[in-house]
Structures are given as C-alpha cells and as structure tokens.
C-alpha cells in the first residue's frame, strides 16, 4: 500500500460563470521514503494540489470537488478538522514557498518549534526546548542554543526556511510536502536546503512531495516525477525514464527552454504561445494550441494516458519516440 495515494483529484474555483475545475483527474502515489516531484509552470495547479492534500482549501476560493486522497489507507478528504489535526504536523507536514512570511513574526523561533511539538507530544516546556535546539542543530543552524531565542526577522531567508523545515520535521512525519521550498532563495542557499532535505530524508525515512517549477531541482532530487499542465498530469514516470526519453511535447518544451550554460545564446528557447486562461474551455488536448506537432485529432479528443515503458505514462496522441533524448 502506498503511503499517499491521490486518485482522480479534482479542484474547482468559484467564478462568475460557475465553478471551474482547475485541477482535473490528478492521480499519483508516493511510497514510503519515496520522493515525487510535481513540475509545472505557474498556475498549473501544483500548489492547489498540495494544499488540497493538506486540507488547506477552505472553500472560500477553491475547494476539492472530486477524487480521493488516502494517507496510509485513511481517506483524508472527508475528515473533520478535529480528526485531521491529529495527522497534520504529526504524520504529514508541509513547508512553504515564502520563508519570509511562513513564520509568525511575534514569536521566537524556538517557541514556534516547541509549539509544533507540544501540539502532538506531551512534552514539558524544558524538554520541548531541548528538542527544539536539537532540531535546529539537525537543520544545521549554527549556534542553535542562541538562535532559538531569535525572532524571525533576525534571521536570514535561508535560516528561516531551515526553521520551517525544523518545525515540519519536529514530530518525525512520514510525509513532507515541500511547496517550492527554494524558489525564494539564492541558488547557493537553494542547494543547501535541497541537500538538507535529502539528508533528513535519509536519516528519518520520510517520503517527500516536492513541488517545483525547476526541472533541474526535480531531476536531481526525485525518483518519481509528474509533469502538470493546466490542471492535468501530462507525463509521469520514474525520473530517469522521463528525463532520458521525454514523451510529451510540453515536457520537451520545458527542457528545451533551460538555457545552456556551455555556450552563449542570443534568443532563449521558449514554448510558443501562452497558457489559455482557465476560464477558457479548451476542447481536446489542453496543450494543442501551443504544441508544434498538434494535428486534427488533438483539437477534438483529449488523450488518455498511454504507457511508454514500465511506469512511464504520457497523455499525448503522438507521444515522442522512446529514444528522443532532450537536447
């Protein structure tokens, strides 16, 4: 049984013209200690998916309208807030994109870590503080016994993200959802945080869902990837399979738009066109308007998943050949 089993997840947002499904039929599994990367450009629904798994969609803007999310066999979507609170922070936790705003500015960081601990473990104040120092040491914050009494504004962005990681792993969760954890950070800090996450994963054996728009990051850290476009997973498989034999034109486009570092280019490669607005109902394959190999059938029939090899699946009528290496 997979640790996390998301199946046919559908998320809708309110609009004047009625509800619009912005995430459609998203399914993926995460095994114990596994790492899955969910990749896609802004607005493709990857963050909404992670928020839905954590139950953070309160219905005021977006809500889950279909599908199931099972964690260790327990269906999460129907849980009451009270039941869910036992799992959140304890069995699964999340870190966010913005380290600048994800810590409460009025509390010392030590108190924020301790709170996460005391929520689920009956620890004394002193024991919680000691554990908090230990956690800060685990996330490699120098002089943790001093830093524990800092307010968030006294820490740098990278350190704040480390504190967030410390809070997230405080209760040794089985699953960590990282929603673009390094997007707001410098490249060097980014590398450190990713390295930290990988080391922590090795130490604790937790599974990680890494949401990112950075293919490089995903290729480096994940053993499974799912590429999303306009609310649907368009290509999924083991990371080495997907990156070595790209099957979907969108994935190919994304890979091609990474600028080469070994030579100068005048014009950067891009995927032509723009993502159609979510309010627009696109018949057929949602990518056809930007696809270079689209044909008549793409405008009429939305392709189902077809297997490329093993677990590598793709939604495309003209899946690129298995030997198509990304240039």
């Amino acid at each position: 049984m997979p640790l996390l089993d998301v199946s046919e997840l559908e998320i809708s947002v309110h609009s004047t013209g009625g509800d619009i499904a912005v995430v459609k039929g998203v399914s993926f599994q995460v095994n114990k200690s596994g790492t899955i990367g969910i990749v896609g450009e802004s607005g493709c629904g990857k963050s909404l998916t992670s928020l839905a798994i954590m139950g953070l969609l309160d219905g005021s803007q977006a809500r889950t309208t279909g599908g199931t999310v099972r964690f260790e066999g327990t269906e999460l979507l129907g849980l009451t807030m009270r039941e869910r609170r036992k799992i959140m922070g304890n069995q699964m936790s999340m870190i966010f994109q913005e380290p600048m705003t994800s810590l409460n500015p009025v509390y010392r960081v030590g108190d924020q870590i301790a709170e996460a601990l005391r929520q689920h473990r009956s620890l004394t104040r002193k024991a919680a503080r000691e554990r908090a120092i230990e956690l800060l040491r685990m996330v490699r914050i120098p002089r943790p016994d001093e830093r524990i009494d800092c307010f968030p504004h006294q820490l740098s962005g990278g350190q704040r993200q480390r504190v967030m990681v410390a809070i997230a792993i405080a209760c040794e969760p089985k699953l960590l959802i990282a929603d673009e954890p390094t997007t707001a950070l410098d490249v060097t800090v980014q590398k450190e945080i990713l390295g930290l996450l990988r080391d922590l994963q090795e130490q604790t054996g937790m599974a990680v869902v890494l949401i990112s728009h950075d293919l490089g990051v995903v290729a480096e850290t994940c053993d499974f990837v799912a590429i999303m476009y306009r609310g649907k997973i368009v290509e999924t498989g083991r990371a080495e399979d997907v990156f070595s034999s790209v099957a979907h034109p969108y994935t190919r486009g994304l890979l091609n738009s990474i600028p080469p570092v070994d030579r100068d280019v005048e014009v950067l490669n891009e995927i032509p066109g723009r993502v159609p607005s979510i309010e627009q109902n696109v018949p057929g394959c949602s990518f056809h308007s930007r696809c270079t190999i689209a044909a008549g059938i793409c405008r009429e029939i939305d392709p189902e998943f077809s297997t490329v090899s093993g677990k590598h699946e793709v939604r495309c009528h003209f899946a690129l050949g298995s030997n198509n290496r990304a240039e």
């Binding site: 928020l51 954590m54 953070l56 005021s60 807030m81 009270r82 609170r85 036992k86 799992i87 959140m88 922070g89 304890n90 936790s93 999340m94 966010f96 994109q97 913005e98 705003t101 994800s102 810590l103 409460n104 500015p105 009025v106 509390y107 709170e115 996460a116 929520q119 689920h120 800092c150 504004h153 006294q154 820490l155 740098s156 350190q159 967030m164 809070i167 997230a168 405080a170």
Partner: protein, 283 residues
C-alpha cells in the same frame, strides 16, 4: 528591541509626546489621589462664596453654588479616567472580538459586519445620543454607549487586519502543524493585533473624552451631580460672561487631555510601525 522599549523610546524621543505623557500622568495621579489633592469636597455647597474669582483658597474660583472649581476639576479627572478606560475596554473587547471572528468565519462576518456598517452609518454623536435617550443617565451607561459607538470602528479596523493575517502563510503553516481554530485565532493571529489595538486604544480614549463631554453638555451623559469636565461646562455655560473661568478651566482640561492622548497615540503608532522597527541581524 522589545515592543515596550520601542514605544518608550518613541514617546520620550519627542518633547511634545513626552509633555503629553507627563500631562496624562498628572491626570492619572489626580484621578487616583483625588481626595488627597482636592482641598474641598467637590459637592459641598457654599452660597456665600458663589462665583468667586480664582484666588486662594479657590484656585480656579467657585461656581454658582459656591463649589470649589479646582476640587471639581480634580474629581473630574477621576471621571475622565473611568469613562476613558471603560470605553476603551468595551470598544476594544466588543469591537475586537466582532472584527476578529467576522474575518475568521466569513459566514458570521456577513451578518456581523452588516450590523457594524449600520452602526457606522450614524454620526458618532448622533448614535450616542440615540442610545443614551433609551438608557438612564449613569456612569456605566455612558461607558457602554461610548464603548459601543467606538466598537464599530474598532471592529472595522480589526476585521481588515485579521483578514490580511488570515491569508498569511504562517497561519497556513500553523494549521499544518495541527493547530485548531481557537489556537490559530488566539495564539497566531491575536498577538499580531496587539500593536494596532494599542494605537486604537489611545484614540478611542481621546475620542471618548470628547464624546463624554459632548453628551454631558447636552445633558445626556453623566448624572448632573457628578463632577465631570463636561458637566461643569454644561452647568456653568450661562455664566460665561460673568465668570468665564468656570468654563475656561474645564474646557482647557479637556483640550489638553485629548491633545496629549493624540500625541502619545501618534508616538505609539510610529513606534510599532514595522518600517521603523529595523534591527535585522544579517547572518
């Protein structure tokens, strides 16, 4: 730097705000130690000495009953403090609770904030007048009415701030660690609202003084025998040409107190504005 420390340095860093604070301290001392400071009983009638000019032993003169104006002014400080603190408590508690809950639970907010809108559609004084005509004249009713009038503005301010805080990532992060509604509201949102509440308190205090004086003047505030600055103005207004000191002293007290409150309030607001709170240890 702590919040109190930064407020302290902002208040004492400006001579105007410092003067205001000293004045407020004097008012507070008078309020607490009124029986020790006042040379006469504020209610003692002495018809022989009526309408005396300011001169020892009557520092501020006497009114048309021969009561010592200085003693009445000192006891007036006590009333001013009671009305101010009481209204602040009512306004901040009722308004704060209403604003926070409305923002956090949108369904509740739809109803509560419409009530607030209706309250805010009335001019403050008119609303206070309407409410006071329904109630008996007493200290507690005056406090409640002024409190309700300013609860509406407080609710509006806190509604907006809570709405903004509710969208902050740290609130989502708290929910992710398993925090429930009460914990999110009390432990994560409320502490971020203390600074704006403090500023709001200073302004509600100032406005409550004006409002109370206006109600007293119109004969709808405190019972007439209670020595308050507003009542003094109301009772002695017909003697403005014969004995102007009867109006000058209480009027000046109201002006000075409200002005001081505004100065201190401004200083507090500047102190807690995050743009002036910069001590980031870049590590």
């Amino acid at each position: 730097m702590t919040l109190l420390g930064s407020i302290g340095s902002a208040v004492f860093g400006r001579w105007l705000a410092t003067t205001g604070l000293i004045w407020l301290a004097l008012v507070a001392i008078s309020a607490v130690a009124a029986p020790l400071i006042a040379p006469f009983d504020p209610l003692e009638i002495n018809p022989i000495e009526r309408l005396s000019e300011p001169a020892p032993p009557y520092l501020f003169g006497t009114d048309h009953f021969g009561r010592d104006t200085f003693s009445r002014a000192v006891y007036g400080a006590r009333m001013a403090s009671i009305i101010g603190c009481g209204s602040v408590l009512v306004a901040l508690f009722a308004g704060g609770l209403c604003g926070m809950l409305s923002a956090y639970f949108p369904q509740l907010g739809h109803v509560l904030m419409r009530v607030v809108d209706v309250l805010m559609a009335f001019p403050a004084l008119l609303l206070a007048l309407v409410l006071m005509t329904l109630l008996e004249r007493s200290v507690i009713n005056t406090v409640i009415v002024i409190g309700i009038v300013y609860a509406a503005t407080t609710a509006r301010i806190l509604y907006g701030m809570t709405l903004k805080l509710k969208g902050e990532v740290f609130v989502d992060a708290a929910i992710c660690t398993g925090a429930g509604h009460s914990s999110v509201l009390l432990r994560h949102i409320f502490p971020n609202l203390i600074s704006p509440l403090l500023v709001q308190a200073s302004f509600v205090f100032a406005f409550s003084q004006l409002q109370a004086a206006a109600l007293d003047f119109l004969g709808l505030g405190l019972p007439p025998e209670v020595p308050s600055w507003g009542n003094m103005l109301a009772e002695e207004r017909i003697y403005i040409t014969r004995a102007p000191w009867l109006l000058i002293f209480p009027g000046a007290l109201i002006i000075l107190t409200v002005f001081s409150l505004n100065l201190v309030g401004d200083a507090i607001r500047d102190a807690i504005d995050p743009r002036f709170r910069g001590d980031i240890a870049g590590v």
